[in-house]
């Protein structure tokens, strides 16, 4: 029977069929960050369990660490104890920890592909909803809560109910100025923030095949904002070239065997999808959110829509926007380029490409937060940091920073921020902060112009 990419990975990981659509799934990789990791490792040992497979567990502090240049683990005092606990428990349990300042440290969903910890066809979990990012290499990767995380650490398995299959095909060619971020925001705007609930989503079509690997990670990152805890792209030569030579990717004879397996993973031609959507890539324009849910998104040259619900009215009020007015030209106070969505080298290059001889507009605070220590070093080796600094951006240390505002860094109440992150929720970037989600180029253009700006007209 014809199978989807998802079916193949799911079925090859069933340890036991639990009936009623449930399976006990083997989990091949576990990622821990500072907020979920220390407490999970403590809980496991406190309850008298042992880690089943410490060799499959990898940790990195990212959420509650300062990104101030020259930071230490003490700079954000509120996270210092959590990180100290993570260090102690990592040592006790024998898992690998990529600590601050070391290559490999970074935002958990940036470092896992970067190190080749995530590979096509494997299962990966993390106590973080954006784990779906890792599906960009063709893995089955999903976010879980604390109890499920303890279950995985103790058993190397998870009880899961099998989701249904959804495919979103992007056919055609993206127009200039349009990115993977715009593709997924457009899909969320079209289908809604809960369309993927209960589904594993595969992104396919010629426009997805044409995306570099880092852009596929961005595409999959926002699956959870459409309700899907799993998003994936079938592995292909782009994937294999990206993974070859990475620290934890297979080598030698293992590489050849792995490659043969990976090439068998893409969905069969006749495979059945419970929902199969198609979007024309060439019709997608640069996107920007206007409200407090990622589905409240419009094209940058559109007007703020009229409210259709109590939620819409509350969002307009919170965002301080007026229906019917063009969103372009709205004054901006902050810009954040970073997060597991858009903090990779290609994202920073896209932002840098907007600079020209311009400077950050007066009154705008603009941050660049590279996604990992390695990205930071690569960007610095290429001189990107000097260009950003000369233009008036802040060049920070890697971490989640203003995406989740769990590290003492926050957008001030009432301030308007164009952000390359993934959530525009009420209070997400700080109490009272107003977030507009957009691509790195759109964010950079907003920083330089001081207002929300259409990248296509920003020459």
């Amino acid at each position: 029977m014809a199978k989807t990419l998802f079916d193949k990975i799911w079925e090859s990981h069933v340890v036991a069929d639990l009936g009623e659509g449930w399976a006990l799934l083997h989990i091949d990789r576990v990622l821990l960050h500072d907020l979920s990791g220390a407490r999970a490792l403590t809980e496991i040992t406190d309850r008298g369990y042992r880690l089943a497979r410490p060799d499959l567990v990898f940790a990195t502090p990212d959420h509650a660490v300062s990104t101030l240049p020259g930071r230490t683990s003490e700079t954000f005092a509120g996270g210092a104890r959590t990180l100290a606990n993570l260090r102690i428990k990592a040592k006790e349990t024998g898992i690998r920890l990529f600590d601050l300042g070391q290559p490999g440290n970074g935002i958990v969903h940036v470092m896992a592909p970067e190190l080749g910890i995530v590979l096509p066809g494997l299962t990966l979990v993390c106590g973080d909803s954006h784990t779906c990012t890792n599906g960009g290499v063709g893995a089955l990767a999903f976010g879980i809560g604390a109890s499920e995380l303890s279950h995985v650490l103790a058993t190397q398995t998870l009880m899961q109910r099998r989701p249904r299959n959804m495919r979103i095909r992007f056919e055609g060619t993206l127009r200039p100025g349009v990115t993977a971020k715009d593709m997924i925001l457009a899909a969320i705007g079209r289908y809604g923030t809960a369309a993927g609930t209960g589904y594993a989503v595969e992104y396919a079509g010629s426009a997805v095949r044409a995306l570099p690997l880092e852009a596929r990670l961005t595409l999959c990152n926002l699956s959870i904002e459409m309700g899907a805890k799993m998003g994936m792209v079938a592995p292909d030569d782009v994937t294999f070239q990206y993974l070859a030579g990475r620290a934890f990717a297979p080598r030698g004879a293992d590489w050849a065997a792995a490659l043969a397996h990976w090439q068998s993973l893409p969905s069969d031609r006749e495979a059945h999808f419970d929902h199969d959507h198609r979007l024309e890539a060439g019709e997608i324009a640069p996107q920007i959110t206007w409200g407090t849910s990622p589905e409240q998104v419009i094209e940058v040259d559109a007007a703020v829509p009229q409210p259709h619900s109590a939620n819409d009215r509350a969002a307009l009020e919170y965002m301080g926007l007026e229906a019917g007015r063009p969103i372009a030209g709205t004054k901006v106070d902050w810009v954040f380029i970073g997060s597991c969505t858009n903090s990779r080298l290609s994202d920073l290059e896209a932002a840098a490409a907007m600079l020209g001889e311009r400077r950050v507009a007066p009154g705008v605070t603009a941050w660049i937060v590279p996604g990992s220590e390695t990205i930071k070093r690569e960007a610095e080796a290429a001189g990107l940091h000097r260009r950003f600094l000369a233009a008036g951006f802040e060049w920070r240390e890697p971490g989640c920073a203003l995406c989740v505002a769990a590290n003492g860094e926050a957008v001030p109440s009432g301030a308007r921020c164009v952000s390359t992150s993934n959530r525009n929720f009420v209070g997400r970037q700080g109490t009272g902060a107003r977030t507009h989600l957009a691509s790195p180029a759109m964010a950079a253009a907003a920083a330089l112009a001081g207002v929300i700006t259409d990248v296509r007209e920003f020459g």
Binding site: H26, L35, G78, G79, G145, T197
Partner: protein, 206 residues
């Protein structure tokens, strides 16, 4: 884990869609490694004003909803972050059941692990239950998991669906790690087979 059997209590109306877990408990409160004590920061950005005093307009600051045990909301409740602190904050406050048209996947899973029952009922029914809840302390709602019914203050019974496995675990407060470890030989067998078929997944490369 705390079992959930049946509950009769005050229901708080929250007629909003997309109540995300950042609203339920903001990220700045996640640094404790305990599972308790999060109730005071439940809905903190709505419940408290910038000076830290209570916002009297917020439902959980009003009588009788300070003692609410059921919360009734609209679509996509619990979307966003996977933080299990969301069900911890709800249960620490005293809420043991959320009724909504649908729930985000990860929140839904997390709730069942913490004695918090998410009940899916159609939007029109949730609207009725919201109107019931607005009647306040004399309009208690009953949620009976064993019989799979919500009982309105009028006595009308509304059936709901629940996954049989989740129901069994929640009714009995079962620890699923203990259950899974009964499969230990199957897990070992799986790993041995994987090691020979796909050696790159563990061992050498790691």
């Amino acid at each position: 884990m705390q079992a959930f059997t049946t509950l009769t209590g005050i229901a708080a109306p929250m007629p909003r869609a997309n109540v995300d877990t950042d609203q339920i408990i903001p990220a700045r409160f996640l640094k404790s490694i305990a599972r308790t004590g999060f109730g005071k920061n439940l809905f903190a950005n709505f419940r408290y004003r910038p000076d830290g005093t209570e916002n009297p307009d917020f439902v959980l600051n009003q009588e009788p909803y300070r003692k609410a045990e059921v919360l009734i909301a609209y679509e996509n409740f619990g979307c966003g972050s996977s933080r299990e602190h969301a069900p911890w904050a709800l249960t620490d406050f005293g809420i043991r059941c959320v009724i909504a048209p649908d729930f985000a996947d990860i929140f839904h899973n997390n709730s069942f692990k913490n004695g918090l029952l998410p009940v899916k009922l159609p939007r029109a029914v949730c609207e009725q239950l919201i109107e019931d809840a607005k009647l306040g302390g004399n309009a208690r709602v009953t949620v009976d998991l064993a019989r799979q019914v919500v009982i309105r203050p009028s006595g009308e019974e509304i059936p709901f669906e629940v996954d049989p496995l989740r129901k069994h675990l929640l009714l009995n407060g079962l620890d699923d790690i203990g259950q899974t470890l009964e499969h230990v030989s199957a897990i070992d067998g799986y790993e041995a087979k994987q090691k020979s078929a796909q050696p790159w997944l563990g061992g050498n490369s790691l």
